[in-house]
Amino acid sequence: MTRGRPLSFYVLALAFAAYVAFLYGPTIVIFILSFQGPAGGLTFPMNGVSLHWFRRLWAGGGIVDIGAAFRRSLALGLVVMIMTVVLSTLAGLAFRRRFAGQGALFYVAIASLIVPSIVTSLGIALEFRVLDDTVKALGPDWFTDEFTSAAGLFTSGLGAHLTWTLPFGLLIMFAIFNRFDRRLEEAARDLGATPWQTFRFVLLPILLPSLVGVALFGFTLSWDEIARSSQTIGAYNTLPMELRALTTTVTTPEIYALGTVTTGISLALIGTALAVILVLRARQARQGSDAGQGV
């Protein structure tokens, strides 16, 4: 293995490094600028170093109620995450066998991924308008007096996010099961395990690291969603929608501080997920096989 690297390696390595710099450079710049001094502006030079803009963000003075938007996004993200993991695991299991409508379901999932988000969002908005009108026309008075709309964060909003996260979850499950050794399940069945026991004690421990990956996709895709949320989220905006609105109105480094906080949360989450995956993998490597260890 003392073969030297060809010239193309160095050229491509340089290109790769440039790509990574392009990918992370801007984020690092706003990270630095978020510590701008109180008199500093949106660009360099740094006018002193301070936590001024973070403090203002925390106090919530200059900007709309970011805290509430933050909590809404967090709650929605968690629900989307759990539903994505559960529904895609179930569907992933189902797709290993033949069932009626399998092909159709697959193509619907793919379509949901590639139909422009604004079209899906508009469709769900129309659906809830029709639903609201129907309820108002047919519902009993005591109910319709109070009723305004069925659309909201955890009805239309949740559905809109799931149409985006579930296809990813399903595709990841396909990738996982394609590499899955089915003999392990057959062995469990031969040893008399019930389907539930096979799932709980054989499949689940093996799948767990991948499921953490699905969870990461489920949460982050929801946490960052704008296009599908735009028509479906109801009266109150999620965090990315507030952020988008702020891009046109806020002209202080406060928006960078917000960016740093948001990115920090994402990174903490990604780090946690990756650490959990590594720990689970290590545990599998340690306990997974007793081959060659005698009786």
Binding site: L12, F44, A91, V115, T163
Partner: protein, 299 residues
């Protein structure tokens, strides 16, 4: 024993359908039915206050208003679609070249699989962070007093700030490439990693140059990944209104923004009609791309 097998299999098939049911229900309620409604409402009438459920082609004729009169010139909607298609083509070409280069480096030049994973992760992590924040983060670089303009002036390459860096076609393309190259890297890398290394050895042994091997062996085998990545990039740019809005300073029209503008005015039927038009064009593009490769076989 043999007599037991058939009912057991049927039992399994039923449970498979039950397992897939929740997913199917979500897609039925929040994707299939909404799409049907978009098509239906696009043929409905409307006034300032409400949607009127009676059949009319009004939304479509209004969308294409004046298109025949202005020939051979382009009317607004055709101009917007042509402009969006142009953005699509530029972003597609850039993400393809950059994405392929990155994936090629990871697949063929990084020898340890640990490093391969770490570097692939480095490319993936930004995908999990906020897109809007990643757009905003170009402002201190590209703005009038930003780093790029500062650098150009310090080096005396320019005597006044370059205005077209931010809130321009340029910044829209830059942001798209920044956000979407990921969608090319992952499927292309997946295709490249599946290539049997002995094929490349064989090409080398048969006297092929590096470039010949790339064009006649690697590239054809990477086609599935390229097509999947292309579908993502093209459909996202076609339907986008957020990136066009934020990076274009709300000044650049796009196919997705037409719909958003109609919705902001609460004109649901015209919005739906434009959604149907956008959907039709997107589906045609995907149809062309999937003729080249069967997606399902590649997973």
């Amino acid at each position: 024993m043999i007599t037991d097998a058939a009912p057991a299999r049927r039992h399994l098939a039923i449970s498979a359908r039950l397992q897939a049911l929740p997913l199917g229900l979500v897609f039925a309620a929040f994707f299939v039915l909404p799409l049907v409604l978009v098509v239906v409402v696009s043929f409905w009438d409307y006034n300032d206050y409400q949607i009127i459920p009676s059949f009319t082609l009004r939304s479509y004729t209004e969308s294409f208003e004046g298109c025949l009169d202005e020939l051979p010139g382009l009317c607004t909607i055709f101009r917007t679609y042509a402009s969006t298609a142009r953005f699509c083509a530029i972003v597609w070409a850039l993400t393809l070249v950059i994405g392929f280069t990155v994936a090629y480096f990871l697949a063929f030049h990084v020898r340890s699989s640990l490093w391969q994973m770490v570097l692939a992760l480095v490319c993936t992590i930004p995908f999990w962070t906020s897109n809007v924040i990643r757009m905003i983060s170009w402002i201190p670089l590209l703005g009038r007093n930003g780093l790029v303009n500062g650098g150009l002036q310090t080096l005396h390459l320019m005597d006044r700030p370059v205005e077209w860096l931010l809130y321009s076609d340029f910044s829209v393309v830059l942001a798209f490439v920044h956000l979407l190259t990921f969608f090319m890297v992952v499927p292309i890398l997946n295709s490249l990693l599946r290539i049997d290394r002995s094929l490349i050895e064989a090409a080398y042994d048969a006297g092929a140059s590096g470039r010949q091997t790339l064009w006649t062996v690697v590239l054809p085998l990477a086609k599935p990944g390229i097509v999947i990545g292309s579908i993502f990039v093209v459909t996202i740019v076609m339907g986008d209104f957020v990136t066009f809005g934020v990076m274009g300073g709300q000044q650049i029209a796009s196919a997705g923004k037409i719909i958003e503008t109609r919705l902001a005015a609460l004109q649901f039927p015209p919005a739906a009609a434009n959604a149907v038009i956008l959907l039709a064009i997107t589906l045609i593009i995907i149809r062309v791309l999937t003729r080249i490769v069967d997606i399902r076989r590649e997973l």
